[in-house]
Subunit: 186 residues, 2 copies
């Protein structure tokens, strides 16, 4: 695998879950793990259902699309519980998807929160996202790519920390824009 | 000079000069020319007068302040004609300032535009910013730093193009957030 492949990292900006109706979503286009080639953005509804479609639109409509070889998501949900259907995201873009999580997700806690919100329907999207696999210090879920290739994508992009650079930078931008200052995270 | 010094790059986001009252301003904190450490943001009025104070607030209030060794501005104005008083920015932050321009500014055109807007008062801020100096493929104005040291800051930060990396990335973020997609620029 070439080191200069284009990877899209996606994260949502900080938001106020009691007052905000929608949240800014940032996409960073990286050449490998070091060179930021471009920035994309869109908005999704807080706790809504439109994150999959919004990401598909954002990705399929951008000029970087022909070069993109991997989509990395910082967790499977944007804007609270706006859960991404990673299989559909992969199918409609034709690009492998890797969900990156620091910790193994606490499915019991998520399930209980969704029941309280009367959004049990979202559970099937969570389950559909497949097995959570530990790779070094992070956990991943994958769609449209095998584990061997996913590990290569991670190796190329984790240049500065155990979090892939496209996701680390999308997170910093989302915080810096929404809060005035990024709080930083390894 | 160490290669890992912290440099702040500042640029404004795209805006609609006929409809927008204020414009997002992005600050990127870089370690040398490659590692994005953090993102700052603020808002300034389109064609207003508050850019100097807004930058001073943003910089003096951020956690990166003690490490910052240089402020780089993408041009001397934010949000149209909200001109930065670079001497005051340097004095109130205690940090050297470098204004970076691709082309030699067309002062006649600027003067004529300011006269039309009846904002001739801003001309003195432009003139106060001092001599425009050509360095390789860009032009700079400096405050609180000599040319020799300014060239060292540029050398460390121009890792990927003739535009310093902190400014290149601030520009990509500003475009990507405001327009949904950055248009890219060398």
């Amino acid at each position: 695998m070439k080191k200069e492949i284009r990877i899209l990292g996606v994260d949502d900006a900080s938001f106020d879950k009691f007052n905000d109706k929608r949240v800014l979503v940032i996409g960073t286009v990286f050449r490998g793990g070091s060179w930021l080639d471009g920035v994309l953005s869109t908005y999704v509804r807080v706790d809504g259902k439109n994150s999959t479609n919004k990401l598909i639109e954002m990705i399929n409509g951008c000029k970087f699309k022909p070069q993109l070889q991997c989509i990395m998501l910082d967790g499977i949900a944007l804007g609270g519980f706006n859960i991404v259907d990673v299989q559909m995201l992969n199918r409609k873009t034709g690009i492998p998807v890797i969900v990156v999580m620091r910790d193994y997700p606490d499915f019991k806690k998520i399930e209980s929160a969704l029941r309280k919100l009367k959004k049990e329907g979202k559970l099937k999207l969570l389950k559909k996202a497949g097995e959570v696999i530990k790779v070094d210090n992070i956990h991943i879920q994958i769609a449209g790519v095998d584990l061997k290739k996913a590990k290569q994508f991670l190796k190329i992009s984790c240049t500065r920390s155990y979090v892939p650079e496209p996701i680390r930078v999308a997170h910093l931008i989302g915080q810096g824009i929404a809060m005035g200052e990024s709080s930083g995270r390894a």
